[in-house]
Amino acid sequence: MSLPTPDTGHLRRAEYSTVYEPAEDTYLLLDALENDRAELQAQRPTICVEIGSGSGCVSAFLGRVLSPHGALILSTDINPAANNATRETVAKTPSESTFGQCRTRFVQGIDDRLRGRIDVLLFNPPYVVTPSAEVDSTIEAAAWAGGVRGREVLDLLIPQVPALLSPGGRFYVVVIEQNKPEEIIAQFAELGLAGQRVLSRRAGIESLSILRFTKPCL
């Protein structure tokens, strides 16, 4: 990878003990964004949103990918420690973008104003297959516990994505094989968004992929 990974060394501090540390899934999403760098720059995004930003590694990296152009990159997370970690990570990462953090679930509270205006939407959801009861059971579990088929959280977002994206807007999401990526792609096709698997990698027991969906231009 030619672009440096954002420094998240501050996550070792006790105040960030509940924040998900960048791991293979995070790095795969960074690689997918970097692979698309030329296209993303040509798209010239103005508003980008990362849902569940955790450490802020992905939001900060997106700023780097878009440089020398600037965008507004809004990062949401339900965990206030993650909001703060994200702010610290983006502050350490040089880019031309403007960053904002908001404590919320998905895009609640910004969805109305940003409907049809999000040029790049990113989500590394809690995708691990767990009993339903584990979803949101603790602030730490909220970062990884995905419930039945690891889809319970992602499935809440999917129907909202087409309306949130601007014409030509893109949605990147991290999945594992148990989430049934082909089924997700078919679901989006029904909603009018074409999508594909753009990158896959095996990491331990996880078979990770990045799916990318694009809203048709007007």
């Binding site: 809004l74 909001n83 403007t98 904002g100 509270g109």
Partner: protein, 124 residues
């Protein structure tokens, strides 16, 4: 939190649906900090159509920040306007306080510059 980010926030309490009252959220007991940045005019011009101008004017007036009442005809070539816009939406940060919805009176807290838009289950 920049005023640019505030411009994107709207009350999302269930049954709070009066569009004239749930947006923009009104600042209450806020601390304001000005932080200087190098203006990026190209970005400002791209962002301008996505800003709700009347909400921004209302918010700036509430905070006693001077703002042009209307947008110039050709904002992209109006240096003065872009500099003012930059100062308002990019350099003005709210660090503490809250935002109140005039429709349902819900108060959203701002802590260390981060707005809490989370609602309890029964409010969604």
């Amino acid at each position: 939190m920049r005023l640019l980010t505030h411009n994107m926030l709207k009350c999302h309490v269930k049954n709070c649906t009066d569009p004239d009252k749930q947006y923009p959220l009104r600042f209450k007991d806020v601390q304001i900090e000005q932080i200087e940045y190098e203006p990026n005019e190209e970005f400002l011009v791209r962002m301008l159509p996505r800003i709700d101008w009347s909400a921004l004017v209302k918010t700036a007036k509430d905070l006693n920040i001077g703002i042009p009442g209307s947008m110039p005809e050709d904002p992209a070539s109006d240096q003065d306007f872009l500099q003012k816009l930059h100062t308002i939406i990019m350099e003005t940060h709210i660090t503490e306080g809250s935002m109140v919805c005039d429709g349902c009176s819900h108060e959203y807290k701002i802590t260390k510059g981060i707005a809490n838009m989370l609602l309890a289950e029964h409010e969604i």
